[in-house]
C-alpha cells in the first residue's frame, strides 16, 4: 500500500462529533494530520451580541453540550465582572457544586466514549447508566437534563429542592463504588495497557507552547489547575488535591481523569455539607430588572430607570472538564454584550494534534483522540 490521505470525519465513529481529521498514512503509520474544524460553527459569539446578558446563558448550554453548567458558570463569571455584580455566597456554592457534578458527568461521558474507541463495549453502557443519575440530579433542580439555563447574572435561578443534598450524597456514594469498577475494567486488562501505554505523548513544554490545558497538561506532570491557582466561586474554601500523573500518555490522561472524578466527589460532599448548614438567598438583591432575572427581588427601581449600565470588561477563566476555558465579555453600557469571546480548551488541544498523533498508527488515533476528549460544540462555538 502506498501513501495516501484518508478523511476521518465528519461522519466517523472516531470523531465523537462533527469534525474532520485528514490523515496522511503510509500503510498503518501516520505521517501527517490536518484537523478540519468548523462543521459545527454556529456563530454563538455573533448571536450573543443580539441577546440580553441572561439570554446568552441559553447558548452556553448548547455551546458545550456535555458540560453545560460549567460553561454557564464561565460566561456568568465574566458577565458579572463586566457588569460589576456580585452573587450571594450560597449561589457561589451551588455553582461550584453544579460545576463539579458537570465535571463528573462530562468525565463519565468521556469514559464511555473513550473505552469504545479501544473496543471495549460494555463500559459505554455502564458510563451512560451512571451519567443518567447525575442528569437526574440536574433535572431535579434545573428542570432539564442537558440544557439547563440555570445560572443568572447575580446568582442562580432557583434554590435547591428539598431533600436534594441527601439524594446527591447517595449518587456520590454510588459513583465512588463505580469508579472502582471502571478501573477494574480498564486498568485490570493487559490489553488496555498494551493499547494505551506510551501513546500520544506530549511533554509539558510542548503542552505549554501549544496551549494545551486540562487533564492533558496535568497528565504531563504539571500541577496547573485554575481551581487552585486562581480560585473562583468557592474553590478556595474546599479541600481537594490536583490530580496529576506522569507519562503524558493515554493511560496517564485516563488516570488523571479518574482521579479528578474522585476529587470532584470530595468537593461535592463538602459543598453539600455547607449548603445544608447555610440557607440564604441565591440571587443578588441589586440586580437590574432588565437583566430579566425572574427571581430578582423588586426594590431596585433605581436600577430599572438607569438603562445605561457602567461600561466594563470581564475576563473569567475556569477549569472546565476539558481544560481551561476563558470568556472575555465587553460591556459598552448597552443591554447586550458588545462582544463575547470564548476560549475553548478543546480548540487549543486539537490544534496541537500534529504533535501527539504523528508517528503512531492508524489504530492509535481513536484512543489518542479519545483521551483528548473532544467536544466539538465548544471548539467550533
Amino acid at each position: 500500500m502506498s501513501e495516501m490521505w484518508i478523511n476521518m470525519g465528519p461522519q466517523h465513529p472516531m470523531t465523537h462529533g462533527l469534525w474532520n481529521l485528514r490523515v496522511h498514512i503510509d500503510g498503518e503509520m501516520v505521517l501527517d494530520v490536518d484537523p478540519e474544524m468548523g462543521y459545527l460553527h454556529r456563530g454563538i459569539e455573533k448571536i450573543s451580541e443580539d441577546r440580553h446578558y441572561n439570554e446568552v446563558v441559553t447558548l452556553m448550554d448548547r455551546c458545550c453540550y456535555v458540560a453545560g453548567l460549567a460553561w454557564e458558570h464561565l460566561y456568568i463569571l465574566s458577565a458579572e465582572q463586566a457588569l460589576a455584580i456580585r452573587p450571594p455566597e450560597r449561589a457561589e456554592w451551588i455553582r461550584m457544586m453544579s460545576e463539579e457534578f458537570q465535571r463528573l458527568g462530562s468525565h463519565i461521558m468521556w469514559y464511555a466514549a473513550f473505552v469504545q474507541d479501544i473496543g471495549l463495549m460494555s463500559p459505554f453502557l455502564y458510563g451512560m447508566r451512571d451519567r443518567d443519575l447525575i442528569l437526574d440530579l440536574f433535572q431535579s433542580y434545573t428542570g432539564a437534563r442537558m440544557t439547563y439555563e440555570y445560572m443568572r447574572v447575580g446568582g442562580v435561578r432557583n434554590d435547591l429542592p428539598n431533600g436534594f443534598t441527601d439524594r446527591a450524597r447517595k449518587v456520590c456514594d454510588w459513583l465512588i463504588d463505580r469508579f472502582v469498577e471502571y478501573d477494574r475494567l480498564c486498568l485490570g486488562s493487559d490489553i488496555f495497557h498494551k493499547r494505551c501505554d506510551g501513546l500520544g505523548t506530549m511533554s509539558e513544554k510542548d503542552c505549554v507552547a501549544y496551549g494545551v490545558t486540562g487533564p492533558m497538561l496535568r497528565s504531563a506532570g504539571s500541577r496547573r489547575d485554575l481551581r487552585k491557582d486562581r480560585p473562583y466561586s468557592a474553590y478556595d474554601r474546599v479541600e481537594f488535591d490536583v490530580a496529576t500523573a506522569d507519562g503524558a500518555d493515554v493511560t496517564a490522561r485516563y488516570l488523571v481523569r479518574m482521579e479528578e472524578m474522585r476529587q470532584s466527589v470530595r468537593i461535592i460532599r463538602q459543598a453539600l455539607d455547607w449548603l445544608d448548614r447555610h440557607p440564604g438567598p441565591v440571587m443578588a438583591a441589586r440586580v437590574p430588572r432588565w437583566l430579566g432575572a425572574p427571581y430578582a427581588p423588586i426594590g431596585n427601581e433605581g436600577y430599572l430607570l438607569k438603562r445605561n449600565y457602567p461600561k466594563g470588561l470581564g475576563l473569567s477563566a475556569i477549569e472546565e472538564p476539558h481544560g481551561e476555558a476563558q470568556a472575555y465579555t465587553v460591556n459598552d453600557g448597552g443591554e447586550h454584550p458588545y462582544r463575547v469571546k470564548f476560549r475553548s480548551p478543546v480548540f487549543a488541544n486539537i490544534s496541537a494534534a500534529k504533535k501527539y498523533l504523528v508517528g503512531y498508527r492508524v489504530a492509535d488515533i481513536p484512543p489518542i483522540m479519545g483521551s483528548v476528549d473532544v467536544c466539538v460544540g465548544e471548539c467550533d462555538r
Binding site: H41, D50, Q81, G211, R230, L315, A317, Y328, Y338, R339
Partner: protein, 157 residues
C-alpha cells in the same frame, strides 16, 4: 504585585507600551503599539515569563479594531491582557505564532471572523467557515437576519 508588574513592563518595553490599565482578576491590561508587536511578545515570554498564550481575539470598535491576547504565567500564577489598537482600514499585526505556537488557530479564527490580518502567519486560511467564505461575520456591520427575512429577500431578487 500589579504595581510591580507595571514597573517591570515599563522598564522592559518603554515606549512600545501605550499604557497599562488595571483589570480585575489579572495583572493588568497592557496596551501596546501594533508595530512593535513582535518585540512585546518576545519580551513578554522571555523576560516576564508569560509562557502560555491562552487566547487571541479581536473586537470591532467600528472606528478602529482591537486585537487582544490573554497570557498566563505559571511562575506568577496570573493572567495579563495585551491589547493593540489597529486602524479600521487594512488592520494588520505581526503574528505571534513564532513566539507561541498556540497562536496559530486563534489567529486564523480572528482573521476569519474579525478581519485582522496577521503578518507572517504560516497558514492563514479559513478555519471555521468553508473555504472561500467572503464575509467576516463578527464585524459590527455584518447583521444577522431571521431566516424568513432572508427568504423574502432572495425571492424579491
Amino acid at each position: 504585585m500589579e504595581a510591580e508588574f507595571s514597573a517591570q513592563v515599563s522598564a522592559r518595553l518603554g515606549d512600545r507600551v501605550a499604557g497599562i490599565e488595571s483589570f480585575p482578576g489579572t495583572l493588568g491590561r497592557v496596551r501596546f503599539r501594533a508595530d512593535a508587536a513582535l518585540d512585546v511578545f518576545r519580551s513578554m515570554r522571555d523576560d516576564l515569563a508569560f509562557d502560555h498564550l491562552s487566547m487571541v481575539g479581536g473586537i470591532d470598535w467600528v472606528d478602529h479594531r482591537e486585537a487582544f491576547y490573554v497570557l498566563w504565567s505559571d511562575a506568577r500564577r496570573a493572567y495579563v491582557i495585551l491589547s493593540a489598537d489597529l486602524p479600521a482600514q487594512n488592520p494588520h499585526i505581526e503574528s505571534a505564532t513564532s513566539i507561541w505556537p498556540s497562536a496559530n488557530w486563534h489567529e486564523r479564527e480572528t482573521w476569519e471572523l474579525v478581519d485582522i490580518h496577521f503578518d507572517h502567519h504560516p497558514d492563514l486560511r479559513h478555519l471555521l467557515m468553508p473555504d472561500g467564505y467572503a464575509f467576516h461575520p463578527l464585524l459590527r456591520s455584518f447583521k444577522l437576519h431571521e431566516p424568513e427575512e432572508l427568504e423574502v429577500k432572495t425571492r424579491n431578487v
